[in-house]
């Protein structure tokens, strides 16, 4: 558009050459002819003048259009510049975010890893105290040692969970084709003591192959099933796992007949350290579902819950069955 060059010659008003005055007529016929000629000449002249006017108008329009085109061109360039700037900024911002995210993860990992060391000392020596002096001091001393030990144990649980939370999303995540049934099998295997102890009944329908990280998906099943057993309402706790395909995605559900979740709290459920019960009622760190959410989000998926208090809960998660570009 830039090299749209229009030739714009300076137009001259047409000039009609006329004889200064009609020459004395030599005859009537001649007069008439001359008159006709003059008429035609005048008409032509008028037409030419009209054309000239029209030409001027056209030229004006042309100039206006050219101006508009120029403006458009300019706006287009401005837009492109703005777009480029924006794109650069977005790229920079994304890189910044990725960096700070990575740093945060690294920090969480190191913090929880290094915290374990002094904690191991605390809990070890409290245990040694308990072992050697239980019943030899007084009742208070035994209580205090008990509280200190409980505290240390709880902190160990928290640190372990924080470690697994921060591990999700570290570079050792491996996305590949995963047989969801295998992941579930592994989770059930890991939980076999709890399942046996609580006499939980676990059933499952055929599960598809998805695209994800085997150990992370195992962890999701493990956390969801563990919760389903922990928050049981009747004996035996019954849990069913099933899945359906929707395009290139799999929606998997873990359904229990547990105590259910008050709708008021369902939104908060997946937040870090969110607990709905006292530690006495149900022990836990409040990280289990946060870990699930983080894992599913790593898979560019979604996790949600449907639940009725007193009836049970169904946890759903949706993950891709095929490689998504954004995952690699």
């Amino acid at each position: 558009m830039k090299n749209f060059i229009v030739d714009n010659p300076v137009s001259k008003k047409p000039v009609i050459l006329k004889s200064s005055s009609p020459s004395p007529s030599s005859g009537k016929n001649l007069d008439e002819d001359e008159y006709q000629l003059e008429e035609t000449q005048r008409a032509t002249f008028n037409i030419l003048e009209d054309f000239y006017e029209e030409k001027l108008r056209l030229e004006d329009t042309q100039r206006a259009i050219l101006n508009i085109l120029d403006d458009l061109n300019q706006s287009n360039e401005d837009l492109k510049k703005a777009h480029d700037i924006l794109e650069t900024r977005v790229t920079e911002r994304t890189a910044d975010l990725a960096r700070s995210n990575a740093e945060l993860e690294q920090f969480a990992y190191i913090a929880s890893h290094d915290l374990q060391e002094p904690l191991r000392m605390v809990s070890s020596y409290v245990q040694l105290l308990a072992k050697r002096y239980k019943g030899k001091l007084d009742g208070d001393a035994d209580d205090f040692i008990g509280f200190a030990y409980e505290g240390a144990l709880r902190m160990q649980m928290l640190i372990n969970d924080l470690l697994s939370y921060s591990r999700v999303g570290r570079h050792d995540t491996r996305f590949e084709e995963v047989n969801l049934a295998k992941a579930l099998e592994k989770a059930i295997e890991n939980l076999h003591l709890t399942i046996k102890e609580k006499k939980a009944v676990i059933t499952f329908d055929p599960l598809p192959v998805v695209f994800g990280d085997m150990s992370q998906l195992t962890q999701v099943f493990q956390n969801l099933i563990e919760n389903a057993i922990k928050f049981k309402r009747v004996d035996p706790p019954t849990i069913n796992i099933s899945a359906r395909l929707e395009g290139n995605e799999c929606i998997c559900s873990v359904k229990d007949n547990g105590i259910g979740i008050d709708p008021e709290y369902q939104g908060k459920l997946f937040l870090l350290f969110q607990r709905l019960h006292t530690r006495k009622e149900y022990p836990g760190t409040g990280l289990g579902l946060a870990i699930c959410k983080r894992i599913i989000e790593q898979h560019r998926g979604k996790i949600w819950v449907k639940s009725k208090p007193g009836e049970g809960s169904i946890f759903y998660f949706k993950i891709p069955t095929k490689l998504k570009e954004s995952l690699q």
């Binding site: 374990q116 060391e117 904690l119 191991r120 000392m121 809990s123 070890s124 020596y125 245990q127 040694l128 072992k131 160990q156």
Partner: protein, 147 residues
Amino acid sequence: MNKSDGKVIDILLIEDNPGDIRLAQEALTESKINNKLYIVEDGVEAMEFLRNKGKYTDSPRPDLILLDLNLPRKSGREVLKEIKEDKDLKRIPVVVLTVSNAEEDILKCYDNYANCYITKPLDFNQFIKVTQEIEEFWLTIVKLPPK
């Protein structure tokens, strides 16, 4: 019962954390094996002990080495490498006993011929049990090279 035919088994613990040193001592006092525990707290001292240098001219050659990886001055990784590259020392079994769970550490230690790699258990009773099992395995089940 003394399972080591009355001989005193010399163990060298290379560890800088006083808490862990004491825990190892606690575990080993309960042991059935007649052992003597020597302790050095950094890598440089460890090498001096093993080579009878500096203040360790009289130190015995240990039957077993328990090695922590995070040590001041010279790290446990370096100590392991030096031991296993030294023809006079390389036959002494080295048990790496560390908090690290990192795959990289585990691989590197075995690459440098660690005899085994153990992550310190977080639980006290487990720690005691593991320490005693190390002793039991290495000092009564395993046939060690003659001194």
